[in-house]
Symmetry: C2
Subunit: 267 residues, 2 copies
């Protein structure tokens, strides 16, 4: 594996994709290519893809679709001209009948001419907007993963895809929470405004200290827990639907596109 | 006093002003002239007016200025061509050295050629936007006044004007609170986004059941108290500054303008 010089090679989406393609980058894309949109990946066989697209369409907050490929094509030109889904993420997860079976560094040996790729907006984009607005985020300060929870809010079912809404939580002081709602409302393509604030038990979270995914994070006195719809929701729906074959990104190992975060703002 | 036929005469801002001018209307303007902007009134002598304008400028959330008259002029053409501040509100409050001394139905006998009128945005406008978005407001359902609180947040002082930020409170379910933040963020001319949510003691409110103005309102399980900057803030600052002469609107008895609420939206 070649070395990946973060200082030199993280400058833009293409540099990160080329580093992933060459094998020089095989880990997290967090913090790479500042300003560029990163996306969650879901790859499904054609006979599951239409239902999944409908699932995304009826659940736009957890599943905001940034791009979809033609069946069999590893390209998504709307996101980057040279993009190759098979090689341009640092690491992948392969699911067979709902079980995680492999975590390869590329999909070259696994690619099939019936696969459809979905790229779904990711919280990295809205976190960049929050950081620029000086809204503090404790999981970034502490260098850990954001805590995520399966809620008692059901997604809208579409065919074989269904399951709970999964949310990420960021503890914020009330004035920062209001500012965060304003900022993320501008970004519907990357989960948009929070889905809940302040009363976790109202959405079925009985113990805020025990997230279902990610790391626990304290909510301190004077703070409210603020919850955003999370890209783990479609992954959980895919796992529950148990298609014979599916691929997602490995956690934190995203597709970096040529889109700019600043260009996503709805107003 | 002539009778005021609400069904016929409440249609627009001009009809309400004419009813107030004639004496047919001498009470609350709540619910009259749907769609038209209503405003708080503050009238001050010229040698206090510049400081008050500065106070408003540095405290735009509680004191969003919709219009200011020329000294001595009872007209504010930006708000309505035919508007006469001396007659067009149903009822006024007169303050001398900070004490409430009279509640006249017009200012004709009190008018002076050094008076400057300020019209300040009012929560009626954003409540109309919330109602249209089907955000429920309990004080409207119960037919009582919104509860208001003096906070421990100081306004920015300007000359002789200073004092605490006064806030109004509406209890909302979290999803409605998020929607309300989005909707009122569009309306900076009428107090804009909330200033606080969820933790009243953080802004010095020790007993939510005991407002300083208005009526108490229960915050039920599953709801958060949401706080907006309130037009009582400038009134409290005027009372504290104790100018020798000042006029405000009587509570609920607003100036109805020809501006449309829908035209206020910033985006």
């Amino acid at each position: 594996m070649r070395s990946f010089n973060h200082a030199a090679d993280k400058a833009d989406g293409r540099a990160v994709r080329l580093a992933a393609r060459s094998g020089a980058l095989d880990g997290s894309t967090a913090g790479l290519a500042p300003g560029f949109v990163q996306g969650n990946l879901a790859v499904l066989p054609r006979d599951w893809a239409d239902e999944f697209l409908r699932f995304c369409q009826v659940n736009p907050k957890p599943c905001p679709v940034l791009g979809v490929s033609e069946p069999g094509s590893p390209h998504v030109p709307a996101l980057a001209a040279d993009l190759d889904i098979r090689t341009d993420l640092p690491r992948y997860r392969v699911w067979r009948d709902g079980d995680l079976t492999e975590e390869p560094g590329d999909l070259l040996a696994l690619w099939r001419d019936d696969l459809v790729s979905f790229v779904i907006g990711c919280s990295f984009s809205f976190e960049e907007a929050l950081r620029e607005a000086e809204v503090p985020m404790r999981h970034i300060e502490l260098g850990c993963n954001v805590p995520m929870y399966r809620t008692n809010v059901a997604t809208q079912r579409a065919g074989r895809f269904h399951g709970p809404l999964v949310v990420s939580m960021r503890p914020l002081r009330p004035a920062d929470a209001i500012r965060a709602i304003q900022i993320t409302s501008r970004l519907p393509a990357v989960h948009g405004a929070p889905v809940h604030i302040g009363i976790p038990e109202e959405i079925g979270i009985s113990d805020i200290a025990r997230p279902d995914y990610g790391d626990p994070l304290p909510v301190r006195p004077g703070e409210l827990p603020v919850f955003w719809a999370c890209g783990v929701t479609p992954q959980a729906a895919i796992a529950a639907a148990r298609p014979p074959f599916a691929v997602t990104h490995a956690p934190g190992s995203m597709l970096v596109t040529d889109l700019k975060n600043a260009a996503l703002a709805a107003f």
